[in-house]
């Protein structure tokens, strides 16, 4: 490809509005599933109609962690495992923002496991997208908390003997109010789920099973990225609403996918304001209401006052 063709590619790419084209090419390997999820994410924000200036993305460390650097949003590439608390601070300091955490299985659920369960417990109003490739890609294919039983990793050269996390179950058990799982084959469904999650109020979690061709696939003699997609096609079963206790993943076994949980309950900030308003009464000034929310409240107050005056 000559330089001019490359320039046109950057200009003409349908994602150039969402991606930092000047940062291309990205670092991901051929056949890797992360790119699909990033594209699905870009599609989702495009369709969601959200003001892109009001969406921030936070990543931890690792292959998926590099996403923040490629997406043309206010973006944060933080420390290993700490994307969720950084996102929490961001959301609480500026509640107008839609905050998305985008990171891998090792980052979010091993070193970041504690933050994951607590953000779900608090129903923190953020969206967490986990690209689960069952391995630490950037560090060389070590075992993660999601590596299936018996799978081979560089730190389990004789096969994994630990029990893996089933992430939708963990999220659900901890209080997440939106939980879905897809594979990177299901690009349109991922996009649809992300769009729903962005419009969902509360802690939303989407897991996307994706191939790591360079390490996980090869170490386990599972072929390339295409072979992984074929496996997803044959062995992923849509099971919307399924009890999350039943969605475990075995080594090359069935993968239950779909939307497992969707419910409403007050978010962390809702609770802060409701509780203080109740305890402290009129003295309490609501914290961090978004501009539309505040305008709606002021309008309602003015209407109430006008109605009272009229009577």
């Amino acid at each position: 490809m000559n330089v001019n063709a490359n320039a046109n590619f950057a200009q003409d790419n349908p994602m150039s509005q969402f991606l930092r084209m000047e940062r291309m090419p990205h670092i991901w390997c051929p056949g890797c599933g992360i790119g699909t999820v990033v594209t699905a994410f870009a599609e989702a924000i495009k369709k969601s109609g959200l003001d892109l200036d009001k969406v921030a993305i936070v990543s931890g460390i690792g292959c998926t962690g590099r996403t923040a650097g490629y997406v043309k949003l206010d973006s944060f590439h933080s420390t290993h495992g700490r994307a969720i608390p950084l996102a929490t601070g961001l959301k609480l300091a500026n509640p107008e923002m839609k905050v998305v955490v985008f990171s891998g299985d090792g980052d979010l659920t091993s070193i970041g496991g504690n933050h994951f369960i607590h953000a779900a417990r608090r129903n923190m109003d953020i969206t967490v997208i986990c690209v689960n490739n069952f391995t630490y890609g950037m560090t060389g294919g070590q075992m993660t908390p999601t590596t299936p039983h018996t799978a081979n990793a560089s730190t389990t050269p004789y096969g994994n003997y630990e029990y893996p996390f089933s992430l939708p179950f963990v999220a659900d058990a901890c209080g997440a109010t939106y939980v879905a799982r897809w594979t990177s084959l299901h690009a349109r469904q991922i996009s649809g789920s992300i769009k729903e999650a962005l419009n969902h109020k509360g802690f939303s979690f989407i897991e996307v099973i994706a191939p790591c061709t360079t390490l996980y696939q090869r170490r386990n003699r599972l072929g390339d990225g295409l072979d992984a997609l074929e496996y997803y096609q044959n062995d992923a079963e849509i099971a919307h609403g399924m009890d999350t206790r039943q969605v475990d993943i075995d080594y090359q076994g069935k993968i239950r996918i779909g939307k497992f949980v969707e419910k409403q309950k007050p978010t962390y900030l809702d609770n802060v304001n409701q509780h203080y308003a109740q305890v402290l009464g009129d003295e309490y000034e609501l914290y961090g209401k978004t501009t539309p929310e505040r305008e709606a409240e002021e309008k309602a107050k003015a209407e109430a006052a006008a109605a009272k005056g009229g009577a």
């Binding site: 930092r20 200036d53 590439h77 608390p85 929490t88 300091a93 402290l280 309490y284």
Partner: protein, 391 residues
């Protein structure tokens, strides 16, 4: 550019109060305009978090008790880029957990204030007893090469005053500022006078005001390496923040040259402004043969020892560091060139004394009056060291 404004009266609890140093820290933070506090309980710092939790609903702020110290400091980074002035408070073990993200805050030039109410010993050590044992950790604790500012209050009043100062320095230099207090000051109740809001000057964040398409989150190579202005999330700049070595746009650059520019900036913005940052108190230095160099709670005992020495005809002076980092290098060099000896009492096995020795460079005797922690010095220990140093 440093823009000073009057404090927001909502955060100022004007008047004389009887309160401990931990509470005074929270009041100072609120007066400085801090409206976001994320923390995790640890003795002997918890009272600050409790005070903030109680006071913030009326001041329009938010307190969140995070799941651990690492989460707390990560939340501060998010909070600061979300547009708030942010603070946390901790003690030794919690400080250890925060260090990696203090490095991220340094690298991303994120303003924040972290108070470490020091306790004794490595590990769980002496949780309820005083110490000054994290002084070197404050300077060197995170990995890699960087600079922070560290202030050391010696009283509840100074906890209040230096909390404001810490925020002002943090906003000016876009750097984490540490308040290295200790259990004794933290739990000591004294009179704290809080001035009215219009008498408190606070440094406002240096918000970017130029053309939108020309904004860069970082500015390297400016005069005195002063950091560039900030924007916050949601303002439409679509900026990138990373802990990787980056260029002025904030984009990762994994090259030796980029590292040289980026890291030099982090170090020089503190080092080349040392004279503007360093704060100290000096007393009776003119004729002194021996000078006691101390900081924090130890300074208050040192005063007694210096007075006793003077009574006994020993010409002794007193030098109290208010900033521990950057270290008052010029001042210590000057003292060392004039006196017979410098005595350094501190509630550790000898930490800041190493800096004094380095700067004295053999020009005078340097005597450490160390301690394994748990209690403040007996003034007689310092007096004995003064006498011995002079001989």
């Amino acid at each position: 550019m440093v823009r000073k404004v009057k404090a927001d009266p909502k955060g100022v609890l004007e008047g004389p109060h009887f309160m401990d140093g931990d509470h005074a820290l929270a009041e100072g933070a609120l007066a400085a305009g801090c409206r976001f506090f994320a923390g995790y309980p640890i003795t002997p710092s918890t009272e600050t978090a409790e005070r903030f939790a109680e006071r913030c609903p009326e001041a329009g702020g938010l307190f969140i008790q995070m799941e651990d110290e690492i989460a707390s400091i990560a939340a501060l980074i998010g909070g600061a880029w979300g547009g708030q002035k942010v603070m946390t408070v901790t003690s030794g073990p919690g400080m250890s957990l925060m260090l990696e993200n203090i490095g991220l805050a340094c690298m991303t030039e994120t303003p924040m204030v972290i108070a470490n109410v020091q306790r004794g010993g490595p590990s769980t050590g002496l949780p309820t007893l005083t110490a000054q044992q994290d002084m070197m950790q404050a300077r060197w604790g995170s990995h890699g090469d960087y600079r922070v500012i560290a202030l050391v209050p010696d009283s509840p009043q100074e906890c209040f005053d230096l909390a404001i100062e810490a925020f002002n320095l943090s906003e000016t230099y876009r750097v984490p500022v540490l308040i290295m207090t200790d259990e004794t000051v933290g739990h000591m109740h004294e009179k704290v006078v809080i001035p009215p809001a219009d008498k408190i000057e606070v440094v406002e964040r240096n918000w970017y005001e130029g053309p939108k398409d020309q904004y860069k989150p970082y500015k390297f190579g400016a005069e005195n390496y002063m950091p560039g202005p900030m924007v916050k999330v949601g303002d439409g700049y679509r900026f990138h923040v990373t802990g990787l070595v980056h260029d002025e746009r904030g984009y990762p650059q994994a090259t030796v040259e980029a590292g040289k520019i980026n890291i030099t900036h982090l170090i020089e913005k503190i080092d080349s402004n040392r004279d503007k940052i360093v704060r100290f108190e000096a007393d009776q230095l003119d004729d002194a043969e021996v000078v006691v160099v101390s900081y924090g709670i130890t300074s208050r005992i040192a005063i007694k020892a210096v007075m006793d020495a003077r009574k006994q005809g020993i010409k002794t002076g007193n030098f109290r560091m208010i900033t521990a980092w950057p270290f008052p290098e010029k001042q210590i060099r000057e003292i060392a060139s004039k006196v017979k000896a410098i005595v350094v009492p501190e509630i550790n096995y000898g930490q800041m004394v190493l800096e004094v020795e380095r700067l004295a460079a053999g020009k005078c005797k340097v005597v450490s009056v160390n301690s394994t922690g748990g209690a403040v010095h007996d003034p007689n220990e310092i007096l004995a060291a003064i006498k011995e140093a002079r001989s």
